[in-house]
Amino acid sequence: MPVLVRLGWRDLSRNRRFTLLFILNLALGLTGFLVITSFGSSLGRHLDDNIREMLTADLVLRSARPLTVEEMERSRLLAGPGSRFSEQVSLYTMVTGNGVSRLAEIVAIDGSYPLYGAFEYSGTLSHIEVITGLQQDRKVLVHRETARSLGLNLGDTLAIGQAEYEIAYFFDRDPGSDFTALTLGPTIYLGMPHLQETGLISFGSRLRYYLYIGLPATADLPGTTARITEALAGPMVEPPADIQVVDARDINRNLNRVMDYFSGYLGLAGLVALFLAGMAAAYLFSEHLRAKRKETAVLLSLGASHRQCLVLYTGQLALLGLTASLVALVLAHLLLPIFAQLFAGIVPADLQLRVHARDAGIIVLVGSVGSLLFCLPVYQRLFNARPLHLLQETGGGRMSGRHETVFFLFSLLPPLTMLLLLAIVASDSLLQGTLFTGGLVITALFFFLAATLVLGSSRRWSHTSNLTWKIVWRNLHRNRLFATPGFVAIALAMLLVSLVPQIENGLLTEIRQPEDIEMPVFFLIDIQDAQRQPLEDFFRGTGHELSPLSSMIQGRIVTVNGIPFRQWLERHERAEDNLFRRTEFNFSSRDKLDVSETIVQGPPLNTTLWSPQSGAPFEISMEEQFSERLGVVLGDHLMLSIHGIEMEGRIVNLRAVRWNSFQPNFFMLLQNGVLDEAPRTYLASVSRVEADRQQEVMNQLTAAFPNISVIDVSRTVEQLGAITVKLAASLRFMAVLAMVTGLVAVFAIARQEALRREREINLLRVLGAGPGKIRLITMLEFGFMGGAATMVAIAVSYACSHGVAWLLFDRIWQFDWQTGVGMLVAAMVVCSLTALLASDSVIRRRPSELLG
């Protein structure tokens, strides 16, 4: 065996170009995949380790109404001895300081908050000092940046509702703020005893009540959560329950779901890079084996068995794959800090991104075993090597065509299975992984047919008087059997390379720029019935546009088709929407649909007023995705409870809503007349306010209507934009990696094709063609092959990206012809130049040397 090790090692050392190209190419592909898996693992571990600190409790009861004494006592009892409790109330409202108003989240806390995690204070403040101060006096705890934005400092006063509070403390970081990159306003903490003084606890206020529970270390969290959930939904409150009980597991699931959306995309982009690398590796290795055919035959003639040759080349592959994995580990180690920067503000600040042992193990396995599997289809070259070839006058002995095809087809199964498994892991979905892999196989077959057609047709074009083109077309036709794999490989590489930016572009376009909708400047909530006319008067004549006011009434779904809502959810709600289990929703009515919504199924709502006396159910219009989550369809009956009165409605249409339009929209619109008797608040949006007057208008609005919350849409869009930029950067990071890997693949393929034609180039030189002519022929030949392959690839990529976007990203797709043209030009240039570079050393040699 040592002789095989020596032979393998010598061979790799001697073929440095092949060795380096193989390792670089595979390492790039592995790096992308490793960075993504490491990111996912690091985040997962961080969530597992810190979830209690993020939630600040083991479990939380939250409701839109105060918990009754009985509910409190029962929850405390079920939590068991040794448990700790903390109460909290929060609401969004306008705050004013130094004449400047802005929306903020007011959080009233008691002396026990937080049960887990901690505030990080500016200076030398102690938590006891702060928490006691908040409970005793009318003081607030704010972030220094919040105070600065309002032009305030320590000791200044801040108006919240009807009361004024002293800014007494600054914090640098508050507990549970890890995933609050997108907020409507800053958080301001005050003591629970001083919340009432704001005067904001009245009808129409959107308060949220929380009871945080910290269980003893030995407590059974799932059991306790289940018992409390059952108790609160049981005999005390007939279904549906209006108290949500969530624990760390729910938060973990929810956060993971959010991150899975992007890591799934990134994972597939990483897999694209890995696939390209695998494809190029197989191509390189195939050419390596072709070049080694004579040496293999010599070994066989000297008494080596086929098994020994198999061990020799398999060992080489494993060594190359292993080295590529180690290079990938180093590269990933260097790239992860950049990845952390890209996601800064979106992921927890103290998240440590690193390559875990498990991920490193997987990548070493994928690198070494994966490269074997990827190269399995080209192993037939090894079996084609026969010592007979070494003798004069013998040319036979190749594997028969049928056996070759059968071997090739069977040997495709292991790499395809590996690809399928990796795709399932990367996308975290059996369906998406299967579609991804199936799509690749079908596309490769399609490219094969396209190559046969294009290269076969080149003979027809060779009937030209131009000698250069005649040689180009004849070469392409004559070498079509060799050129076909190159064509397919280039087409696949370019397809995958162009697919990534196309999907990315569609996604970003949708996030950033809703079409045909004027973005509002402010979004107004909590408008009281009595304030409708004064509000319209306020905006009249200012040039600012107030949208029609949308009524909003909170209510509950009691039953669906006669089945209690909770039971219905258990049967129909999608598993990944677990946290969606709320029973309270906002309802509205409107005479005509907003521009941001479109009916996609069913007729418009009946415009006549519904009357309870009619005996017929009222009509409901439901948002399309909401209906999918609930598992309801057209014609289903819903019993709603609005302010204690139960009424039955029927779903008559489904709407598609552009939520990013920031227009007042609702999951459910009810027929006119249903909500007429119920007390309600209103929503509206304001547009056409000049940028330099926005703060002034907001201040005036808050002064005139202190209870109305004004959401600064432009600020929110700005926040969303900042997050989008970060996400886009991470997407581009992966796209660039896929592109680089793809270009390395194209380089490798073009180089091997050029080397393969070395003899033809030599022959032309001997026959008198000058170096310039040969360079031109080479460039045209490879430029055409690269261009034709890329054109087919781009056409397919438009269709594929449309399909993938439809499947993964809610039908978001954007036609991007510039990228296509760019790719086409780039592919032609890269293929031409690469071929030129590869053949240059041959072209520059003297014909006499070539003859020798």
Binding site: S13, V298, S301, L302, G303, A304, Q392, E393, T394, G396
Partner: protein, 220 residues
């Protein structure tokens, strides 16, 4: 007899349908220590015959007995083992491994067979073929004649019963060719080996104890 070949048939499939018959009942016997030259026109099947004798290919029918063992009934693994133990081959194109030194090229057959290879042994062989000072050189650093001498040393390292040579001087100029053939016959004679040479070279053929011509698939 060290080699007995009886009624050997071999045909190759041709594109389309039909086959090309290369050997059609070839046969001969060879005593130990003799040398045989096989001549014939290009395409007459000389190399096919030597491939069958080396166990690199199998006949369609007939028997090939070498040292009493029938190659025609062996599977590929057994043929490979047999070849490694009893047969040495010298090719026209040398077929040395370019990344191994002269010493390493010589010891390769032994190592592949899992047998011990000492530096003294390879050194002695290098001395025998006149390359005593070239052990650490790569084939690329040797001349054509030196490469063929090296290939000869590699063929002899397993101490074969039969040496098969396929146009051993075909790639060399006249003077070098003569030097190599001198060496070849000297070593065969000294080692008491049996040798079969396939050649177009009448001078080389004349030096063999037996000469057969391959015509229309049979030896005459």
């Amino acid at each position: 007899m060290i080699i007995e070949v009886e009624n050997l048939h071999k045909a190759y499939p041709q594109p389309g349908s039909g086959t090309l018959s290369v050997l059609a009942g070839a046969g001969f016997s060879l005593a130990a220590g003799t040398t045989l030259a096989i001549t014939g026109q290009s395409g007459s099947g000389k190399s096919t015959l030597i491939a069958l004798l080396a166990g690199l290919d199998t006949p369609d029918s007939g028997r090939i007995l070498i040292n009493g063992q029938d190659l025609a009934v062996m599977n590929e693994t057994r043929r490979t083992r047999f070849r490694a133990e009893y047969i040495g081959i010298v090719f026209q194109q040398f077929h040395l491994l370019p990344h191994l030194t002269a010493e390493e090229n010589i010891s390769l057959p032994l190592e592949l067979a899992g047998r011990h290879s000492s530096r003294e042994h390879t050194g002695r062989l290098l001395e025998k073929v006149g390359l005593g000072t070239r052990g650490r050189h790569l084939p690329g650093q040797l001349s054509g004649g030196e490469c063929q001498r090296l290939a000869l040393a590699r063929a002899l390292v397993v101490e074969p019963v039969v040496l098969l040579a396929d146009e051993p001087t075909g790639n060399l100029d006249v003077t070098t060719g003569r030097e190599v053939s001198d060496l070849l016959f000297e070593l065969v004679d000294r080692e008491k080996m049996t040798m079969i040479v396939v050649t177009h070279n009448p001078e080389l053929a004349k030096r063999c104890t037996m000469r057969l011509q391959l015509e229309q698939g049979v030896l005459r």
